[in-house]
Amino acid sequence: MTKTYSAFNLLREGLRGQKGWGPAWRSPKPRATYDVIIIGGGGHGLATAYYLVKNHGVTNVAVIEKGWLGGGNTGRNTTVIRSNYYYPESTALYDLSVKLYEGLSRELNYNVMFSQRGMVVTAHSEPEMELAARNVNAMRLNGADADLLDVDQVKKLAPILNFSPDARFPIHGAVWQGRAGTGRHDAVAWGYARAADALGVDIIQNCEVTDVITEGGRCVGVATTQGEIRGGAVGAAVAGHSSVLAKLAGYTLPITSFALQAFVSEPMKPVIDTVAFCPPYGTYFSQSDKGGLVIGGGLDRVPSYGQRGNMPIQEAVLGGLVEMAPALAKVKLLRHWAGIVDVTPDSSPIIGPSGVEGLYVNCGWGTGGFKAIPAGGTLFAHILATGTHHDISRPFDPDRFITGRLIDEGAASGIAH
């Protein structure tokens, strides 16, 4: 059975009718006990499992997923990867992730198609240009790459945008991050799954955690639709359903669930080769390698677990797209969907102890956790293996809602969340 992907193997399998490939991961029956149980087979859960083995030598690990791998937000997002945040704590986190993404395809022997095509975040007035300069300075001081562009430079990078002085929001310039880009979201989940499986991690799909087992106030395992599974430490990375799991286990979270929508157009010839985001229109888009425009925007306005989204935001995002790039007005949409994201009061993630001993959380990534998968996995693995924070995860502990040291990144995201 062919195990690794290489030019030679691709050629050989091409000549043999692609019959020699083995499954990318096993489908084992759950064992009775594991050293670490991870609930949620999205990008964060799978990456955590991988780094548990690779960085900490913890080999007896299970990932438990109620549906299929990456069927949550990891397979539903608009694939933007960037580290253009404002606070040092955030840059440390998201830039670690961008750096790990830069070597990920090679490390996992799986093409995650990280394409560093850069990202333009436009500014639409002179005061906005001043804020953009402040943002660029903050990013540079924190060690991320950033440039302030004038309108001519933006025109060169993304000529499809609306540069008319009569536009509702005329473009004055932009914040540019050249190392930002897009990745193939399913491939990130699959790449981590395959690599973790090869290191001995049991990935158990179609297995829902229905209860959390505690003994003497300590979490000792989970009840699932495939029976009880015990674990030394349990980690929950169940974006969108974080509060549902919290209720089962008896801890609380400062999280509200909202639908976030995305759109893909019919494929077309190349019209843009960067990620473009115009904050006042509430719309961003990029073009996938297949040619479809991948379009996203802000959160729905009504808290929801209904995975479909609603009309007002569709209108805002698509109306915004047409004002942002009028040439796209007649482009037809191919697909539209929504994911349920867990939003925190400061738009920053929550990583750390849940409040129930032995149970840890990785959640609250809201609209922006795809870019953070390699870092989230690294940090969560550190916590699950050692029981203590990594320096980079410490500021994201849930205790910040008690101490008041919030990391309010609502503005850096630029999108309502």
Partner: protein, 96 residues
């Protein structure tokens, strides 16, 4: 476009409404000089959310008429179960 019921104006476009928060939270009592509220209690009041999967009770405002009311919904199906003016429920019942 979903219609939400304003107890004062009747069914209106959802875009006219503002979600103000979950119902049932009680602000810690800060009256009097002895009233010492712990950071944990403040945090719970300010940030902790029930975020229920299913039947929810929420405070909404209908912006055009400024009516503040209790909206009961289903957070998965998005069905509206009922709307009650705070004038009718009274603060006590609304925070139950």
């Amino acid at each position: 476009m979903q219609l939400f019921p304003c107890p004062f104006c009747g069914d209106r476009d959802e875009r006219e409404f503002h979600f103000a928060g979950e119902a049932g939270k009680v602000r810690p009592d800060t009256a009097g000089s002895e009233a010492e509220v712990s950071a944990k209690d403040w945090s719970e009041y300010l940030y902790t959310q029930r975020n229920d999967h299913g039947h929810v009770r929420e405070i909404w405002m209908h912006l055009p008429c400024q009516e503040v009311f209790l909206l009961e919904r289903h957070s998965v199906t998005m069905a509206v179960i009922g709307a009650t003016s705070f004038r009718d429920v009274g603060t006590k019942e609304a925070s139950a």
